[in-house]
């Protein structure tokens, strides 16, 4: 037998089926069966008839949207300057921004909680603000990195041409820089939006349990043997992920910035 290049994909194929395809299959199986394993839509009915579920979904969407928007607002300029050799001669600055990721995020969150307490923004009084600060802090590197790599590849001559042809700085930004960095923005959004929606450790710790996200409820259901209900919630989350994937499908794969 001759070695073929496609054999190199075997380890990943095994990984993919073990940790992605089979689990998703299980989620779907449990989402549409009842405790005895028969086909049933009880979990769906339970999900949609409970007002708490709608609330939690809306709250999660809100937190995820705001966190993503804030991350982009903060991360975009940072990435732009980092990609500029004038300010960032040897990429040390990039490392500084990525460094928080070297520390376990639970530890970071515990520390964030103490700092927020010290400055008076505690989860008891400002649950949304505290949670958003924590989310932005934790996911900012995931926004900066893909944006940074896209920005490195910005076509400088196009920007210059734009300015030469009489565009003012605002126009240059909107007509040239922004469209060029779109791939980075899209991968930044997928890197933050979905994880924020399903994360619950950060919101638990920083909002003092006053904000529950979808992740909390999935855990709560599984922890209390409500596998079918929990699976259906996970399934809803999966649908949301799929929608966000389709929404960003327009970009060709090779144009994507990002390390992942």
């Amino acid at each position: 037998m001759k070695f073929k290049r496609k054999y190199l994909a075997i380890p990943y194929a095994i990984f993919l089926s073990l940790f992605v395809i089979i689990p998703i299959g299980l989620i779907i199986f449990y989402a549409f069966t009842d405790a005895s394993g028969h086909l049933s839509f009880d979990a769906a009915k339970n999900f949609f008839s409970n007002k708490g579920n709608w609330d939690v979904l809306l709250v999660s969407l809100f937190i995820a949207l705001e966190a993503t928007a804030l991350c982009l607002l903060i991360g975009f300029p940072i990435a732009y300057f980092l990609a500029n050799k004038k300010y960032n001669k040897n990429a040390v600055l990039v490392m500084l921004f990525i460094m928080p990721m070297w520390i376990n995020f639970v530890l970071r969150t515990t520390a964030t909680r103490d700092i927020l307490f010290a400055i008076g923004i505690n989860g008891g009084n400002y649950p949304y603000l505290a949670t958003l600060i924590g989310m932005v802090y934790n996911y900012l590197p995931f926004v900066i990195l893909p944006l940074y790599t896209t920005m490195l590849k910005l076509d400088k001559s196009q920007i210059e041409a734009c300015a030469d042809l009489g565009a003012n700085p605002t126009q240059v930004f909107f007509k040239s820089i922004l469209p060029q960095s779109l791939p980075g923005i899209i991968s930044a959004i997928t890197m933050t939006f979905v994880p924020v929606m399903s994360s619950y450790v950060i919101s638990d710790a920083l909002s003092e349990g006053n904000i529950a996200l979808v992740g909390n409820f999935i855990y709560l259901n599984f922890a209390n043997n409500q596998w079918n209900n929990g699976s259906f919630m996970a399934f809803v989350l999966l649908i949301l992920v799929a929608i966000s994937m389709f929404a960003t499908k327009g970009e060709k794969e090779e144009n994507r910035g990002g390390l992942w």
Partner: protein, 605 residues
């Protein structure tokens, strides 16, 4: 060829993984598998010979070993050979101790033992593992309600059969364990039945009484209560005197009061909050009920407790509605829900002033806060009653090593093991032998603390408050104190320090000598053992049974808030902005196209 190689490599990996999971066991060893909560059993910091006088593990040349005629090994520290108080012993993990014990116990049969020890985070995880049928543990340790649920679902085997071995152990357990919890007709365990698998709402009796009681399936390990701990020095409580706070926190009502709004956290666990809410919701009914009973009469106490337990365990639709509304009030008044941060927040003292807490955590926090921050934390078990919970050892149905599993349970309930587990874990052991009482007294009794001072009985009495824990060390709820004056150690009435005592002692904490007020032990004792006069108000909370899903759904609703108005406005503004930008882009592009078209036309001209 490569495929084969890959397969071989994979097999190698799998083999390595499965070997990492097993301890160094040879075929002829009997393996006992134990599944326990994390950090819930004594673990030695090192394995070796330990000398209490040196307060460290000894090197090989620092001790001598002696073996007496019975084959028992004893050690002698060379430095403290003459010191009678120095205890020198071989220190190792509790599981290791068990294996050594079993090896010796079954020496004649030539049996050798080994163990597998795993932990889980919540009883539900353990249940899931048992339900999926993949676990093959011989012993598990879960909470009372989970035992109940497991019996209902046929996951446990009865502990004792008619064999001599089993009956011996049953007797031994009866001797070792507190009658309050286990073994007597009036014991808590002997009065809890598993629920029926599918009972109807209008069923008078939801219990399956033919299957036996909890006591037939499980043996208590540790126990505690749910109460509130509070810190009078908290900045939000400055306007209250200590007496006012003590008065306030003697009732669950305090958690609904505007005056402490936002200063306390509650547990992110439905069962604990349910206990508070249900007693609050049915407060009036319980007060009514109290009138029918004569609390001087022990039998009435018992009967009242049973009635209260019935109310405490309601979870019908109407109750859930009431409880849900009540929990929402509680939530709005609370600072937040905590998973595990409550006790550490109490110790640090700045974030919260009070916390819905388990007694064992409170005992730990009281000591930590005192020694670390010089802060005084009090624990209160409100007078409306509360939840008493236990964790118990049980043998899963799938285990085929019943005999040795029972040996394990017996071993864990022995005095020596109970003490070292209690010392390590910080909860209250269910073993109530004299040695355990002495251990408790070592901590809490004025007479023991003042042994060297040669004080008269009158002087000692003046320093102390009698604290009656005879119910635990002697018997059941009907052992109410008859003559509180005649207290003595033998009768398990502890001469506790007064809560406001100013006496102090010196303790070695983290290698440094530190002054510790004795008052801290007075407060710890009150959290570790509920007062005898409150026993009839303590109930065990059943598994929710078929109502589990309804309760979880109710809890979900409590745990969420609808999106606040400002957030909706923010969302709307953002949505408007996005729409505006998109429209602008479209118009812009159209205009651009128009200009472009014009230019092309003009060029063509």
């Amino acid at each position: 060829m490569l495929k084969n190689k890959l397969a071989f490599f994979g097999a190698l990996l799998l083999g390595a993984a499965s070997c990492a999971g097993c301890s160094s066991s040879s075929k002829d060893k009997i393996i006992i598998r134990v599944l326990n909560s994390a950090d819930y059993i004594y673990e030695a910091s090192e394995e070796g010979v330990f000398c209490s006088a040196c307060n460290e593990y000894l090197d090989e040349d620092e001790y001598t070993t002696e073996v007496n005629e019975d084959g028992e090994v004893s050690y002698l520290c060379k430095k403290h050979a003459d010191d009678e108080e120095a205890e020198v012993y071989y220190d190792c993990d509790m599981m290791e101790q068990f294996v050594r014990y079993m090896d010796k116990q079954y020496e004649e049969e030539g049996l050798k033992f080994d163990y597998v020890y795993d932990t889980f985070d919540t009883p539900e995880t353990c249940y899931n593992e048992m339900m999926t049928g993949k676990s093959n543990y011989d012993i598990i340790n879960v909470s009372d309600y989970m035992i109940q649920k497991m019996i209902t679902n046929g996951l446990l085997q009865p502990l004792f059969d008619e064999s001599e071995h089993d009956q011996d152990i049953k007797q031994n357990l009866k001797d070792n364990l507190s009658d309050y919890l286990w073994g007597e007709e009036t014991s808590i365990y002997n009065n809890i039945y598993p629920k029926k698998l599918d009972y109807k709402d209008d069923d008078k009796d939801p219990y399956e009484r033919t299957k036996g009681t909890l006591a037939d399936y499980a043996v208590p390990y540790m126990w505690g209560t749910v109460g509130v701990m509070y810190n009078p020095a908290f900045k939000g409580y400055q306007q209250f005197t200590l007496e006012e706070l003590q008065e306030k926190f003697s009732s669950w009502e305090v958690l609904y009061e505007e005056s402490i709004k936002g200063s306390f956290s509650i547990k992110d666990s439905v069962r604990d909050v349910y206990a508070v809410s249900i007693l609050h919701v049915y407060h009036d009914e319980i007060e009514e009920l109290k009138k029918d009973y004569d609390f001087e009469n022990p039998e009435d106490l018992q009967a009242f407790n049973q009635e209260l337990t019935v109310i405490f365990n309601r979870c019908d639709e109407r109750t859930l509605e009431l409880v849900s509304a009540d929990m929402n009030k509680l939530k709005d008044n609370a600072f937040g829900f905590e998973v595990d941060s409550g006790k550490t927040d109490m110790v640090s003292g700045e974030k919260i002033g009070a916390n819905l807490a388990w007694s064992g955590d409170a005992t730990w926090a009281i000591y930590e806060a005192q020694t670390e921050n010089d802060a005084e934390i009090y624990f209160s078990l409100p007078e409306e009653g509360s939840n008493i919970f236990t964790d118990s050892w049980a043998i899963p149905e799938v285990s085929d090593q019943h005999k040795y599993a029972l040996d394990f349970i017996d071993f864990m309930c022995e005095e020596e093991q109970a003490i070292s587990n209690m010392d390590y874990v910080g909860y209250t052991s269910s073993t109530s032998t004299e040695g355990v009482l002495e251990y408790v007294c070592d901590y809490y009794d004025v007479r023991v603390a003042m042994e060297d001072e040669e004080l008269t009985d009158e002087e000692l009495e003046a320093m102390s408050d009698p604290y009656d824990i005879r119910y635990f060390f002697e018997g059941s709820i009907d052992d109410a104190p008859e003559d509180p004056e005649a207290y003595c150690l033998d009768d398990a009435i502890i001469w506790s320090w007064k809560l406001d005592t100013e006496e102090t002692t010196t303790e070695l904490i983290d290698g440094k000598e530190q002054e510790v007020p004795y008052a801290v032990y007075a407060r710890m004792l009150r959290s570790q053992f509920p007062e005898a006069s409150q026993l009839h108000m303590l109930c065990m909370m059943d598994d929710y049974g078929k109502d589990n899903q309804a309760v979880i759904e109710m809890w979900q609703q409590v745990r969420t808030n609808p999106l606040p108005l400002w957030a909706i406005i923010v969302l709307a503004v953002q949505a408007a902005a996005v729409v505006a930008i998109v429209t602008y882009v479209i118009f812009d592009r159209k205009r651009f196209n128009k200009v472009k078209a014009k230019r092309i036309i003009s060029k063509q001209k």
